[in-house]
């Protein structure tokens, strides 16, 4: 059984078919890239996967369990972590508190009126921050962080509930090239060691071809190719619509 299985997913806005009959699967431990030119339907796909959008038709299953119609917070409980294209962190909180909130949610303490949240699971939060390499920034407010560091905070937050599926929307956008490689190495290592299925979208083709074990190419809302990096690279249709005439 795949960690994520998507069948015949479709979504239209008004008259525009953003996603049409998309099917694919991601297995545990696999790092899969979802690529395509702007407007190909990548973000729409992502938003359906974690429940932000409801598909018009099609099926999404996590380890065999359908998640269509669930809201994002319910999908998360089933083990789906996510990072956003434009980072979304809690700007009024410190880096550590951002992770602590995710841990509170993981431990189902969101309606606890007791012990102050800042004293909750400090060690676990710091361990997560250490894993993404920003433990020294733990006490800084998120509002003052550099963009690349915010991406790391997002990753730490996404890992807080030990996800089985990690969705990363443009995880390295806005980062320096060196940083990009480091972050993706981290994600790939996590996928391997913790058997997390990773699905990411990315514009940087170096990142895609270096780290993805498999690539799905979207164009006009449809899957036009899927396969190992070399296969995709050689696919004439992909070259035509995606890489231009090169």
């Amino acid at each position: 059984m795949s960690a994520l299985e998507v069948r015949e997913l479709s979504k239209a806005y008004g008259g525009v078919q953003a996603v049409r009959g998309v099917s694919f699967a991601v297995d545990a431990g696999e790092v899969v890239a979802l690529i395509g030119p702007n407007g190909a339907g990548k973000t729409t796909c992502f938003n359906m996967l974690n429940g932000q959008l409801r598909p018009d038709s099609g099926e999404i299953a996590l380890a065999g369990r359908s998640v269509v119609g669930l809201r994002p917070h319910q999908v998360w409980r089933l083990g789906v972590g996510r990072t956003f294209q434009l980072t979304a962190t809690f700007s009024s909180m410190t880096v550590r508190e951002n992770v602590q909130v995710a841990l509170l949610s993981h431990h189902r303490r969101l309606f606890s009126f007791g012990k102050p949240a800042a004293r909750f699971q400090v060690d676990e939060a710091d361990a997560l921050l250490a894993r993404v390499g920003i433990q020294e920034q733990a006490a800084r407010p998120c509002a003052v962080l550099a963009y690349g560091d915010l991406k790391r905070v997002e990753l730490a937050v996404a890992l807080a509930n030990r996800p089985r599926l990690l969705l990363m929307d443009e995880p390295t956008a806005g980062m320096a090239p060196g940083e990009r490689q480091a972050l993706m190495q981290l994600a790939a290592a996590l996928a391997g060691s913790e058997r997390i299925a990773v699905l990411f979208t990315e514009h940087d083709m170096d990142v895609v071809f270096n780290f993805a074990s498999r690539i799905i190419v979207l164009h006009g809302g449809e899957v036009i190719a899927t396969g190992a990096p070399d296969e995709v690279r050689a696919n004439p249709r992909v070259r035509e619509v995606y890489l231009g005439n090169a």
């Binding site: 998360w76 509170l104 949610s105 309606f111």
Partner: protein, 596 residues
């Protein structure tokens, strides 16, 4: 109703709709571009009326209308450049506080200029009489009004869609930063839009004088009508405002036509609540584009200083030793309002949910206390303990609908529910005592001295504030704040943002109810005024004055506002204007609140 009666009421509704649209269009325009919730819009309308009435004496009615409108536009431009421009970068809703101050100032200025007597304007020369329609007499002037609404609508539409200036306005209302990046001169555009909005308000007022006398109370009535129309139509949508004006105008006319004029007390709010529940962005509105900029990135929340609270409590505890009895009475009021403001702050600050109808829960607590003592004959102590739960229950019922929305829509839905609650209290004579309210709600004998009651209030209010602060730093408070900072991220880590917000409504309602119950017993009576719009606005003013981004701000805001009102109303003739002036100065000097 006969066919001709229906026709005539339909025409009455159209005339009403036209005048509603004239005010609402300007408000919608201003909000669309600058995101300013302009409380003073009704005051500009009132100015238009007074100016037209005085000018028509020498210039005649027809010349006075455009002239009054232009003068009001000038006032609008002055307000924008003199006041609002200085605080565009301030936190959201602070402009609301500034425009509230302007309401107070303009009203007293009108009283000073035109005196207290209502002023009935002239009939419109040439259109003074009536025409026979379906065997009934229908005022000629109303026919003109019926045409005026659509005419202004078309003119606005052409202005916005066919001119370069209109394109800039539309660009700015869709995305301020983008428009600025495209080289739109924001400052000049904002001034022009505000002046145009004021022009429409002034024109609406001036055009109303053949139907309605100029009076000082018209400002808030018109303001609330205009808000309802704008929100029902969809913020920033002129066609929406037109549609909403039609809807509300007709519903009102037919309520009266069918003999249910009692319903008109709150009918527009009932319509608004229904529309917002079914269509969260109004009839023709679209989800608001998040404004990027200083307003959105929330600064870190300062840690609550329980030391400060303890020190304050200790200080207040020894006040009765050296202060006179009235100081204790005043401090009791201040403590109650501080708790009221703190409970509102819990929703607005960490919850990110501005409530324009927070008095509903204050009033529910007060009424529950009164009813439990007078009707259920419970001991006062028990009533005081139970009343807050009635308020919390009310907050949970209202909140369930409110948390489906966000931003100004949420705020307006809270206002609608508060108005509906108010009208129930106002009309349900047998239970609530109607407009007179409940009389004879005094504390138990052991608490009847001012000192004893003061200590009770001190303990309960500061205790409740401490609990609220504790809640803010609890996991629940963090999850709530997470939902405010980034609903997207919060949902993506398993936080059911709406559930969190809903619970926050219950909490805020509970504590507002404690305040309300304490208030009822301190006054000995309770009347619908306790859950009216002015009470809600007072709460907003206190929170914003103190600073929504702090914890102790609402307490200082409540203390300052209550004390100002008390001392100014005693010694100053035009004390409302004086309060307005103080608020204005504070807003400009401390845009983040006085406690920052």
């Amino acid at each position: 109703m006969s066919g001709s009666a229906i026709l005539l009421q339909f025409l009455n509704g159209l005339a009403g709709a036209s005048s509603l649209f004239l005010v609402a269009a300007g408000l919608s325009l201003i909000f669309g571009v600058s995101r300013i919730v302009n409380f003073a819009h009704g005051s500009l309308y009132m100015l238009g009326m007074y100016l037209a009435v005085s000018l028509s004496g020498s210039l005649g009615f027809w010349a006075s209308v455009p002239l009054a409108a232009i003068l009001v536009a000038g006032v609008g431009a002055l307000i924008e450049t003199g006041v609002l421009r200085r605080i565009y970068k301030a936190p959201e809703l602070l402009q609301l506080l500034a425009t509230f101050a302007l309401v107070l100032i303009i009203r007293d200025a009108a009283l000073w200029t035109w005196g207290a007597q209502d002023r009935l304007g002239p009939r419109a020369p040439g259109l003074a009489g009536a025409v026979a329609i379906a065997g009934r007499q229908f005022p000629q002037y109303d026919l003109l009004l019926i045409c005026l609404g659509p005419a202004v609508f078309i003119a606005l539409h052409l202005l916005l869609s066919r001119t370069r200036w209109g394109t800039r306005v539309r660009a700015a209302s869709q995305d301020r930063e983008m428009a600025a990046a495209l080289g739109v001169n924001e400052r000049r555009l904002f001034t022009a839009v505000f002046a145009l909005g004021a022009l429409l308000a002034g024109f609406g007022g001036a055009a109303a004088i053949p139907r309605e006398p100029a009076s000082l109370e018209i400002d808030l009535a018109v303001m609330s009508d205009a808000f309802v129309v704008v929100v029902v139509g969809g913020l920033g949508s002129i066609p929406g405002a037109f549609l909403a004006a039609l809807l509300i105008g007709e519903v009102k006319a037919f309520c009266i036509g069918l003999g249910y004029s009692e319903l008109t007390l709150a009918i527009e709010f009932i319509v608004m609540a229904a529309v917002l529940v079914l269509r969260p962005w109004g009839l023709l509105g679209r989800p608001l584009v998040e404004t990027r900029g200083p307003g959105t990135s929330q600064p870190p929340l300062p840690a609550p200083s329980f030391l400060l609270l303890g020190g304050l409590a200790a200080l207040l505890a020894i006040v009765p030793v050296f202060a006179g009895p009235y100081t204790i009475v005043l401090l009791t009021d201040i403590l109650v309002f501080a708790l009221f403001a703190a409970s509102l702050h819990f929703l607005m600050g960490p919850g990110g949910m501005p409530s324009f109808g927070h008095a509903a829960y204050f009033g529910l607590g007060a009424y529950a206390a009164g009813l439990l003592v007078l009707r259920a004959h419970l001991p006062m102590e028990l009533a005081l303990a139970l009343a807050p739960f009635a308020a919390a229950l009310g907050a949970l019922v209202f909140g369930w609908f409110c948390v489906q929305l966000s931003g100004v829509y949420l705020a307006m839905l809270t206002l609608a529910f508060a108005q509906i609650a108010w009208s129930v209290a106002f009309q349900w004579d047998r239970l609530t005592g109607g407009s007179n309210g409940l009389i004879g709600v005094w504390p138990a004998p052991w608490l009847s001295s001012k000192q004893a009651y003061y200590y009770l209030t001190l303990v309960l209010c500061l205790g409740a504030v401490a609990l609220l602060w504790r809640l803010i730093v609890s996991p629940f408070g963090y999850a709530l704040r997470a939902g405010r900072d980034s609903p997207l991220r919060a949902e993506a880590i398993g936080i059911d943002v709406r559930a969190q917000q809903w619970a926050a409504f219950g909490v805020a309602g509970l504590f507002a109810g404690v305040g309300g119950a304490l208030y009822a017993f301190s006054k000995g009576s309770i009347s619908p005024e306790a859950l009216s719009v002015p009470r809600s606005v007072d709460g907003l003013v206190m929170v914003l004055l103190g600073g929504v981004q702090t914890l102790s701000g609402p307490l200082w805001g409540a203390a300052l506002f209550t004390w100002l009102e008390d001392s100014l109303s005693r010694g100053v003739e035009y004390w409302r204007a004086a309060i307005g002036a103080v608020i204005l100065v504070l807003v400009i000097a401390f845009p983040r609140g006085i406690s920052k």
